[in-house]
């Protein structure tokens, strides 16, 4: 009986691997044919990678919000995309005020930008904490799907509250003169957009700080403990409720910062802006192994690069027209591919397999 069962399971394993290998083969063939055609120069490939890293570091920041909450509450905080949206949306009013005061010109822009960023982070954090308090806390012990549906509902509610209160128009952030144009990455001869350099450096800095926070500080260790076992953590004298709030605060602040980086690159805010970045960031979190902080960072970067580089690299060689239309589809195919070979993500923890 057991023997037969084992044989069957391994049979499906073979089928899975075959599907995986087939996808992989198509990807490789496409890549080789694109590269062989020589239609794109090395500089262009480099540019594509840099675009991907900039986008990916924003995904990584948002993904952390998903992964931190998931690690502790085992729930997908679907409304995190609205946490991400609310910060830069409200900070828009601050940004126009700061701009009117002349604080985004000349040498002042760093100060002005910091004010705007602070506003965004405070707003996002507030929304995240309110969400936890009103919608999630009463459901701590409910079956898994209940908080998920609550989160979906909260996401709709927030999105359309912003639409109702602030209108449906697209608002363009004021531009910062000092950040326009390209420069060389210091110490190299690689050209990069100033905004991208700023975003990448700042995001990496924040990721590093967060990593140290989680690994080294007392609160960070408490977060890890709560994510391992809530009850045991409580017995060890950890205030679980407080740690959960801290998690939402950290996730919200990161999302707010990500929101400002997002508008530095893309300048627009509107009520629906959170949906797709949120979806991508969630994908990134799963890709990296949900619940794993380093995994979310890696997943975000990988997804950013995959979106920017792979449509051209893979689909062009296969003769598919307008490949960037399919970039999300390709990203998801790659996700399936990775999950086939590593069912719990790049850095998936054993806990994710066991409890998920």
């Amino acid at each position: 009986m057991l023997q037969r069962l084992r044989r069957r399971v391994s049979g499906t394993m073979v089928a899975m691997w075959l599907i995986g290998l087939a996808i992989l083969a198509v990807v490789v063939v496409g890549t080789i044919r694109t590269l062989a055609s020589g239609a794109y120069s090395g500089a262009e490939w480099l540019d594509l990678s840099i675009y991907g890293i900039a986008q990916g570091s924003i995904y990584a920041l948002i993904a952390l919000g998903y992964t931190l909450v998931y690690g502790i509450l085992r729930m997908i905080n679907f409304a995190h995309s609205e946490v991400f949206m609310s910060g830069p949306f409200i900070a828009y009013f601050a940004a126009t005020a700061v701009d009117d005061a002349g604080l985004l010109e000349d040498q002042n822009w760093v100060f002005g930008l910091l004010i705007v960023m602070l506003v965004a982070m405070v707003v996002s954090t507030t929304v995240a904490v309110l969400l936890e308090r009103i919608a999630y806390r009463p459901l701590r012990r409910a079956p898994r799907l209940v908080p998920l549906i609550t989160a979906i509902g909260a996401s709709f509610f927030l999105q359309y509250t912003f639409l109702g209160l602030f209108g449906s128009g697209i608002r363009g952030y004021p531009e910062i003169e000092a950040l326009k144009g390209r420069m060389m990455i210091p110490g190299t001869s690689i050209p990069i957009l100033r905004t991208q350099l700023l975003v990448i450096v700042a995001a990496m800095l924040m990721l590093a700080i967060l990593y140290i926070f989680v690994q080294r500080t007392k609160v960070g260790k408490a977060m890890q403990a709560v994510s391992e076992d809530k009850d045991a953590a409580a017995l060890m004298g950890i205030d679980v409720d407080r740690i959960i709030v801290v998690t939402f605060v950290v996730g919200g602040a990161l999302a707010g910062a990500a929101g400002i980086f997002y508008v530095l690159l893309f300048h627009q805010v509107h009520f629906f802006m959170g949906f797709f970045p949120g979806l991508k960031a969630f994908t990134a979190a799963v890709l990296g192994g949900i619940g794993n902080v380093t995994g979310a960072m890696l997943g975000g970067l990988f997804l950013g690069i995959a979106e920017s580089l792979f449509p051209n690299l893979v689909l062009d060689g296969l003769g598919i027209p307008a490949p960037y239309q399919l970039k999300d589809a390709l990203a998801f195919v790659l996700l399936v591919l990775i999950l086939i070979f590593r069912p719990s993500g790049i850095l998936g923890e054993r806990l994710a397999v066991k409890k998920a």
Binding site: S168, G172, E175, H267, P311, N312, Q325
Partner: protein, 413 residues
């Protein structure tokens, strides 16, 4: 509880039926026609089917406001107030079908302004026509809706929006005439953008130009630089992206940041001919060229309209079709005045088929978008397309057609 509820509903229905029976009008409906009766104190009811929720809500809100202002301006029809009822047609076939079904079940409804999207229209038009309700759209531009070979059950449908065929071809003629030879196009998967770029590409190649790249993005995509890098590899001198504000703004802004595209001519269509687009695109919008209805043909009324809009809604117009919606509403209301049979007691009888005919007969209607004349296929737009160039990046300076050198400036024809 359930029982009493059922009894109640029946009771309510009986009551309303009785109320309706009370005021029997003595007017007679022309033979073979279907009439709407409007009692002495009743308002004339017109409807709209726009997208008023979801991601495309700006388009619907914009046109809805156009209709509301038109109704305010009109005030009354033959001594009757005007009531506007609306349904959400979304930007999809199912939304169009539901909205059309709902509106058609209203026997007091005289005419409908809608839909916003051609996909919604294809599902909605047969239902409106089945109920003999004249339908006029401010923003459906797909050519097949007013094609000479259009299905018979489109007989009640007209539009004040210009056909894609006109606009796409005009842009191609302009581009070729201005010396551009290698064009690239980008669409966003919408019917509107895809059709426009097809027409443009066809015409441009016919004239002798080359279309070096036809790319596509998603309407919510933000990072356009990878796609633009791909376009840059083909060395175009002209990029045409007839898409919407969100993605259009991103492409405009990011094209200047991609090596090889710093000086390429960027262009789009009326879907992004708005101050909102300038706001989204920022400084990079300088030198951008749009195809759009020729504002030289627009009446002075348009400036009044904009002032009213801002006073009423506290923001500038959101999308480019408010004026078309205004005109569409005005055409319906003018046609109602033409065909309505007036009773002695002030009641009205409005024959719907005659109303459709009166709308098709519209000639030289002075609207915001020009002098409108409807042809036998339902195209009412005044198809004078001009090309405008942005000369000032400040969205506040947005004032097309005010004078010869106001921003954006008319450069063709």
């Amino acid at each position: 509880m359930k029982k009493s509820f059922a009894v109640l509903t029946v009771l309510v229905m009986l009551l309303t039926a009785l109320a309706a029976c009370g005021g029997g009008a003595a007017l007679e409906c022309p033979e073979g026609d279907v009439c709407v009766e409007v009692g002495p104190d009743e308002p004339v009811r017109i409807g709209y089917a726009f997208v008023v929720s979801g991601a495309d809500v700006t388009l619907g809100t914009d046109t809805k406001r156009g209709v509301e202002i038109a109704v305010e301006d009109k005030g009354q029809i033959l001594g009757h107030d005007i009531e506007v009822v609306g349904e959400d047609s979304l930007c999809s076939a199912e939304g169009g079908q539901t909205a059309a079904t709902k509106l058609s079940s209203d026997t007091k409804l005289v005419g409908v302004i809608g839909t916003n999207c051609s996909s919604a229209a294809r599902a909605a038009i047969p239902i409106f026509c089945g109920a003999n309700i004249p339908t006029i759209s401010p923003s459906n531009t797909a050519p097949d809706l007013t094609d000479p070979g259009r299905p018979e059950d489109y007989w009640c449908y007209l539009r004040t929006a210009h056909n894609d065929l006109v606009q796409g071809a005009a842009m191609a003629e302009y581009a070729y005439g201005a010396g551009f030879r290698a064009a690239a196009t980008v669409h966003d998967g919408s019917l509107y953008a895809d059709k426009l770029q097809q027409v443009f590409s066809g015409k441009f190649q016919e004239l002798g130009g080359a279309v070096v790249a036809q790319e596509a993005v998603g309407p919510d995509d933000t990072d356009m630089k990878p796609m633009l890098t791909r376009v840059a590899a083909q060395n175009p001198d002209f990029i045409y992206y007839p898409i919407f504000t969100k993605a259009g703004g991103q492409i405009t802004k990011q094209a200047r940041e991609v090596p090889g595209l710093e000086t390429v001519q960027l262009s789009g269509a009326d879907g992004i001919f708005s101050a909102d687009f300038m706001r989204a695109a920022g400084d990079a919008v300088i030198g951008f060229r749009w195809s759009s209805p020729d504002f030289a043909a627009f009446g002075a009324g348009y400036q009044d309209f904009l002032a009213k809009h801002e006073a009423k809604y506290g923001e500038k117009t959101l999308a480019p079709f408010h004026a078309h919606a205004y005109d569409a509403a005005m055409i319906i209301m003018a046609a109602v005045e033409k065909v309505a049979i007036q009773g002695d007691d002030g009641s009205l009888l409005i024959p719907k088929k005659a109303l459709v005919q009166a709308m098709f007969d519209t000639k030289d209607h002075t609207g915001l978008t020009g002098n409108l004349t409807c042809d036998e296929n339902g195209d009412c737009a005044d198809p004078k397309i001009a090309v405008y160039e942005c000369v000032n990046a400040d969205p506040e300076s947005w004032n097309p057609g005010a004078s010869a050198d106001s921003n954006p400036m008319k450069i063709w024809p």
